[in-house]
Every structure is written in C-alpha cells, then in structure tokens.
C-alpha cells in the first residue's frame, strides 16, 4: 500500500456517504423502537428500578441511590433514539455520525439494565467499578499492541507476554515479599519475550504472526510447567503481597466518579497515566512522529535518517513493558496468586480493542472499557437471576468486535508497513 492511497483513505474518513447516513439512521430508529416494544411495553407502569451508585465497601464519595420509574425512563430513552435517528435522515451528523450511533448503543445498554433490574436494585457503581478493573488488562494489552504496531511489528504475542509476566510477578513478589519487585520481575520477563519476538521478526525476518505464536505457545507451556513443578506444591512462593487500594485525596470524594476512578487499584492509575503519556507522545512529539513514520513508510523514514531497526526494537520492547504491567495486574492487582492460563485470552481481546480503537490510545481505552463493561454486566446479571444465559452475555464482546471489524462503524486503519520486515537496499 503506497503513501498516496493512504492519504486518500484519510480524507474519506470524514466524508459520510449517503448509504452510511441512511444505515446509521435506520439503526438508530430500530434501537428506539426496540427499546419501546421489547423493554418499555413489557413492564407494568408502576415498577421502579433502583440503581445503587457506590461500590460496596467504600465510605468516601457516597452518593444516594437513584430510583427511576422504569417504564417512563425507557420511553424517554426510546424517544431520544428515535429523534436522533430521524435527524440522521434529515441532516446527518457529518463526522459525528459514529458518535450518534454510539450514544444510541449506550442508551440501548442502559435501557437493557433498567429493564433487567425493574422492580429490583442493581449496584451500578459496583458494576462500573468492576468494569474498570476488568478493562485494565484489555486496555494495557491494546496499548502494548499500539506501541508495537505503530512501529510496524504485529504483536499477537501479547497474550503470552502477559501470562509470563503474571507468573513471574507472583513468583518474585512472593519471594521478595514486595509487590513492586514483583511488578519489576513481571515486566522484565515480558520484555525479554518481546526482545525474542523482536530478534525473530526484525533480525531473522520470521513471519511476525508465526514468531508471536512461538512466544504464545512457549509461555503457555513454560508457565504451566513451572506452576505444576513448583508453585502448586509450595504455597509460600505463590502468595505475593498485593497492591492495596489507593485513595487519591480530594478526587476520591467526588460522588459516583470518585469511588470508581480515584479510590481504586494502582493498575487503574497506571493505565490512565500510560494513556496520557502514550497519546501525547505518539501524536505531539518528535519521538511519536518517528515511531509512526517507521510503521507507515520505513523506506521514507530511513531516507530521512531515522534508524528503522532501532526504532522497531524500541517499539517492541516498550510493547513488552506495557504488556508486562498488564500481566502483573492479574496476580498483584486482582487475584493474588498465579493459576495456569489465568490471562484467559485477555491479550487477544486487547488486540481486538486495539483494532476497535483504530490504533489510537483513547480509542483503545474506550474499546477496553466496553469489553470490561460487557464482562461486568454478564456477572452482575447472573446474580440478578436473568433469563439470558451468562454464556451469551460473555459472547457479546467477541460478537461486537467481529461486527466492528466487518466495517459497520467504518474501516480501521492499520499502519501501512506492519508485518513487513524492513530490508535496507
């Protein structure tokens, strides 16, 4: 793919075709009607939904429960969706087309919650708080992917790096009795794997998907081997101290938002810090411009005196660093011990979040939160005794990814030179 076609595609992003306008309009109308017919009209008028707004076990930043008349709230949400859909037909939203559709999808999810919890109480604060926690490894995985792929290296080894890091973090954390050293150990192990991936794909020009698969198989085998040989017989080396909840003074007192974002785990803060650093570094600094140019058009970058090989090694090593933090989250931030295969495909979902977020840190965070939210809904709804099997709720993120990838919300833009080893001529 040459540079000129890239530019053409960039222009296309902001031009919304008539067909897409009609399509999103119809989708918004259908969402509205769906809320109205399936949710609103199946409820008796007198029922209320109670949302508890503070996660359990937190005493600062409390907020009163939110009680909604279920049917009325649903009718209002449905009307907004229908109005949004009608406006899409009349005027269109230009570059906000996706945002409008996104808002309607959000309303659909919210309506679903009102409907499911009608006549009961649902801890919305707790649900969002656990959604953020569940989003941490996915989002960090996506950041890891962005760092590698912006420099032109496909990294499907994120899963393997996270798994290795989670095991090493538990091991070093337990032996040293220090979560920080555990984190360091985990991160170093993931960076070592990243280095192997880098050497294989940059120096030896191995197909990057295959070298990623090597790392994944190796990690799965190695962690299971060490776990069975040592960790399972010896609880003392699989019992790392965990990072405790950190309360940010002042911010933690904000109602609703405070308990969810500012009175939580170290890894959530790390995720937010990496988000800001990455977003600024990628798009506002010379470093970021160089990294991206190597991923888009290495030959041009080389001509301008950028060291392509070194930049790519830097990209993949930083990718390993972030994946390592994501992996350490499992043992040091969430569970407190290592279990075989505990990353459970979160690295792969992180990759999906990266594509979903269009190789953009903020987009990746949004996608990660969405996946985390879908996970959290699943577990909460089974507590509410929902008729929908939890397995189907668990499928939702994967289905959404496939639909998005199929181009319903516009095609993502992968770095052009990704997957192609660079050969100096």
């Amino acid at each position: 793919m040459s540079a000129s076609t890239q530019i053409i595609q960039h222009k296309k992003v902001f031009e919304v075709s008539r067909a897409r306008r009609t399509f999103t309009g119809i989708a918004e109308l259908l969402i509205g009607l769906f809320i109205l017919i399936v949710f609103a009209f199946t409820l008796p008028a007198s029922v209320t939904t109670r949302f508890v707004m503070t996660p359990g076990g937190i005493d600062v930043g409390q907020m009163a429960d939110w009680v909604l008349p279920s049917q009325l709230a649903l009718i209002i949400l449905a009307s907004i969706c229908i109005l949004v859909g009608l406006f899409a037909f009349i005027r269109g939203y230009g570059r906000w087309t996706n945002a409008a559709l996104g808002a309607c999808s959000l309303f659909l999810v919210f309506s679903f919650l009102i409907w499911q919890a009608a006549g009961k109480s649902l801890n919305l604060g707790g649900m969002l708080s656990s959604a953020v926690m569940l989003a941490v490894p996915i989002t960090l995985g996506a950041f890891s992917g962005i760092l590698a792929e912006r420099s032109g290296i496909i990294n499907i080894a994120i899963e393997g790096m996270m798994l290795m890091s989670s095991m090493v973090a538990a091991l070093t954390g337990s032996i040293m009795h220090n979560p920080w050293l555990g984190l360091l150990g985990g991160v170093l192990s993931a960076m070592l794997l990243a280095l192997i991936h880098g050497v294989l794909s940059i120096k030896f020009k191995v197909n990057q998907t295959i070298s990623g698969t090597v790392i994944n198989i190796f990690s799965a085998g190695m962690t299971a081997f060490i776990s069975q040989k040592f960790l399972q017989h010896n609880e003392a080396i699989n019992n790392p101290p965990m990072f405790s909840r950190i309360q940010i003074p002042g911010l933690a007192n904000i109602p609703f938002i405070g308990p969810i974002l500012f009175n939580t785990n170290l890894f959530v803060y790390l995720m937010l810090v990496i988000l800001i650093v990455l977003q600024v570094a990628l798009f506002q600094t010379r470093w970021g411009l160089r990294l991206r140019s190597v991923g888009e058009h290495p030959k041009a970058a080389d001509t301008l005196g950028i060291n392509v090989i070194r930049t790519r090694y830097m990209g993949i090593l930083l990718s390993g660093l972030v994946a390592g933090i994501g992996g350490a989250f499992f043992t040091l931030g969430s569970v407190g011990r290592f279990d075989e295969g505990m990353t459970a495909g979160k690295g792969f979902i992180g990759l999906a979040a990266m594509i979903f977020g269009n190789w953009n840190p903020i987009g990746a965070l949004g996608a990660g939160l969405l996946f985390g939210f879908a996970d959290a809904i699943g577990s909460k709804l089974s507590l509410l005794g929902s008729a929908i099997p939890p397995q189907f709720m668990a499928m939702a993120p994967y289905l959404i990814t496939m639909i998005v990838l199929a181009g319903f919300i516009g095609k993502g833009q992968a770095p052009a030179a990704e997957g192609i080893p660079y050969e100096k001529e």
């Binding site: 793919m1 030896f204 090597v214 799965a220 081997f225 040989k229 189907f392 992968a414 192609i420 050969e423």
Partner: protein, 430 residues
C-alpha cells in the same frame, strides 16, 4: 515477505511477469528435482533435536536434586543431571514407542495378547496423533491459500458438538450409515465455523486472525451453554457434559480395551491423501496455491480470490471439525469441555514444521502424538509436567521458522534460493 514489499512498489510490467511466473512454474517448495531430500528435512530434524536438547536442559535446571548434587561436587552434579535426563527421556521413549525388551519377549513367547499390550504405547501414540493430522491439515490448507486459521480450536469444538448431537439424538440407524453421518455432521459444523471468517475476509477484508480468535471464544461459550443446557446429560446436575453417543455412531476400535487404536487413524490418512490430491493434482489446488503465494498475481491472472478464500476457510474448518468428531466418535464417546488439549494451537506449529505439506503434516503429527503420549509416562515416572511438550514444540517451531538460527548453530550453508514463503499480511487483509 521481502518480495512482497518489492512487488508492491514496482510498476505494472512486473505484474505480468509475475503472473506468467506464477502460472508457468510450480512453487519451488515442491519438486524433488529442485531441492535435495536432505536439505528439505535437515532443518526440521535439527530443529527437533535442538528442541529436545532444550527440553533436557530444562529438566536438569528445574530439578532440585541436581542442585543438591552440584552442592556436593561438580562431577556428581553432572552425573545426577544426566541421570535425571536419562530417566525422563527413557520414560518418554518407552511410553510412546513401547519397551523394546518387553516387545522382544512378547514376540518370542508368541502370545498375541501380550504382543498387543507390548506395542500398545506405539498404538496409543497413533491415537494421539490422529486429531493432530486433521487439525494440522486444516492449518496447512489455510497457509497454502494464504490464510492463517487460528480458529481451528473453535471449529473443532463446533464440529465435535455437531457430531455428538447426531451421535446420541438419532437412534436406530445401522452403523455404516450412522457413523459416517455423525462424522459428516462434524465436518459440516466445522466448515460453517470456518465459513464465517472466510466470508468476512473475502467480503469486508476483516482479518481472519482476529475473527477466528473471536470465533474461538464464541465457540467455547456456545458449547459450554449447549452442554449445560440443551445437550446436557440427564442427571448430570447442570455439569457441562453430553449424553453418551449411540453404539452405532462410534468409530470402531480394533482391539479390546484398554487398547484404543481405531479406524479414525486410517480415515485421517485417507483425508491427508485427499487434501494432497486436491492441492497438487487439480487446477483448483493450483489456483488456491497461487492465491496463497502471490495474491496480486492471482488477481491479475483473473482468478477468483474471493471464492477461493471462502472455500479454503470452509474446507479448513471442515478438517478441524473432523478432528473434533473423530475424538468424540472414536475416543471419548461423549463431549465435555476438556475435549481438546490445545490441538488447534499446537497444529499451527505442526503444520509449519511439516512445511504445510500433507506428508509433512502426517510426519509431524506422529511426532507430536508421540511426544504427548510419551510425556504422560514421563510425568508418572519422573514427575515432569506434561506441559514441557509445549515448550519443546515452541522451540522447534522457532527454529523451523527461523532456519538461519539453526544454520548458524550447526554451520550449515544457506541454499542458493530462498524458499517461497506463504503470504500473510497485516490486519487490513490487503
């Protein structure tokens, strides 16, 4: 891959040349006259040897006894290390191929039952290799057509679920109809699960790597729901396990239990032959391989790449489905969630080691089946976790994928012409 970069930047005149090359010449990977037999197999063999060597080092390094012995003296340490490795690999060998002494004695005594029991470890290795042959063919077929099917695991589960359903829900059929029908149902289920990412790739460009990974997770959840809901065994109390399939649906085993050697192994060999014939002896196969090695040339030659992507993914899925069906109908006889020990992921390594050729797939399946079977015995004898096989497989795959490392270690000269590699692109599917 370097070639791909160059072609993308060259002018159109080169494309016509490429088309002619692609159509007139067989890809250099085949044709024994172009490459000597030794140079084809030397890299995989050395990779396997090095993988086993790394495994041996891992066994020694993770053994507390070795450290204790090194504490006494260096010589003692080495002796203990070699003894540990020796015991472990001896168990690996006898567990997968049989104990030579026992086989010799059994042959001398002439007792048929004892002979069978003595060679059972070998037969069991064949049983273990059977699903690998199917899944390896699935991945290899994908690679040959330029597709990376990581979704074999999910396709295997869907195929197994379909075969299980036909196996227990339909009653009263004669075995010669019921068994093939259940096998076909498995193939159809897998084919459908492969068809979806194929269609998405062909029509929207959605990359099959992400789509098949997503479909894997959907397949796991779906089968979990099926097995604990609509397809659950009566009286299982919501445990995810299916009813036992009818006797008429079972793939027959040749000997009495505990020998599990069954007809499925030969079905797998026949399937491998069929895939070989399709790929290398039909026009369809040539077109498919052209799409795989050089999609742009294929497009210029007027080949229907859209169709071949969909057909290749479906066929690949069908093979994966057969693997699942085979395990249900021949070995397990009912479906539970622990059906696969990662066949889908292992088969990626396996197909690459076998050079994506059906014969290579059979050989590397035999290797993987043997390793896995022997590792079970090794775990019993020396307490070494079976997962060491994964580590060895990863090392082997690494060396096969990066032959330059092997050449550097063993000082082998590089062949004049680089092999043509399969064409795999970024997420955009360009």
């Amino acid at each position: 891959m370097g070639a791909a970069l160059k072609t993308s930047q060259n002018t159109q005149t080169d494309f016509s040349q490429e088309v002619i090359n692609a159509l007139n010449h067989e890809p250099p990977t085949e044709g024994p006259h172009k490459k000597s037999f030794w140079s084809t197999i030397s890299i995989p063999l050395l990779a396997i040897f090095t993988g086993l060597l790394v495994g041996a080092i891992l066994i020694a390094v993770t053994s507390p006894e070795v450290y204790a012995a090194f504490g006494e003296s260096i010589g003692k340490g080495f002796i203990t290390a070699f003894r540990q490795i020796g015991t472990a690999y001896q168990a690996l060998f006898t567990g997968s191929l049989g104990d030579p002494v026992r086989i010799f004695n059994a042959l001398r005594m002439g007792d048929a039952k004892e002979i069978r029991m003595a060679i059972n470890p070998f037969l069991e290795s064949l049983v273990q290799a059977t699903p690998y042959i199917f899944t390896g063919l699935a991945v290899a077929l994908g690679f040959r057509s330029g597709l990376f099917n990581i979704g074999v695991e999910g396709q295997l589960f869907i195929g197994a679920a379909c075969a299980t359903y036909v196996g227990y829900a339909i009653k009263g059929l004669p075995p010669y109809i019921h068994m093939p029908l259940a096998l076909l149902a498995g193939a159809a289920g897998g084919a459908f699960w492969g068809f979806i990412p194929g269609l998405l790739k062909a029509k929207t460009g959605g990359h099959e790597v992400i789509n098949t990974i997503m479909l894997n997770w959907i397949a796991f959840r779906l089968t979990e729901w099926l097995l604990s809901g609509p397809m659950t065994r009566e009286g299982s109390g919501g445990m995810p396990i299916s009813p036992i399939i009818e006797k008429s649906a079972q793939i027959p085993q040749f000997f009495q239990s505990p020998i599990r050697f069954h007809l499925g192994f030969f079905i797998a060999l026949a399937t491998a032959w069929l895939i070989w014939w399709l790929l290398f002896k039909t026009t369809w196969g040539l077109n498919l391989r052209t799409v795989g090695t050089n999609p742009r040339a294929a497009k210029y030659a007027g080949l229907n790449t859209t169709n071949s992507i969909i057909v290749a993914m479906s066929l690949s899925g069908a093979l994966a489905g057969l693997a699942g069906a085979n395990q249900i109908l021949a070995v397990n006889h009912s479906m539970a969630l622990g059906l696969s020990s990662g066949y889908g992921y292992d088969s990626i390594a396996l197909a690459l080691i076998g050079n994506n050729h059906p014969v290579g797939v059979i050989l590397s399946s035999l290797l993987f089946g043997t390793l896995r079977n022997g590792a079970t015995r090794m775990m019993v004898v020396s307490g070494i976790p079976i997962d060491i096989v994964d580590v060895i497989q990863a090392i082997i795959l690494m060396f096969v994928a990066a032959p330059a490392i092997i050449r550097a270690i063993y000082h082998i000269k590089q062949p004049k012409k680089e092999e043509e590699t399969v064409f795999l692109s970024g997420w955009g599917g360009k």
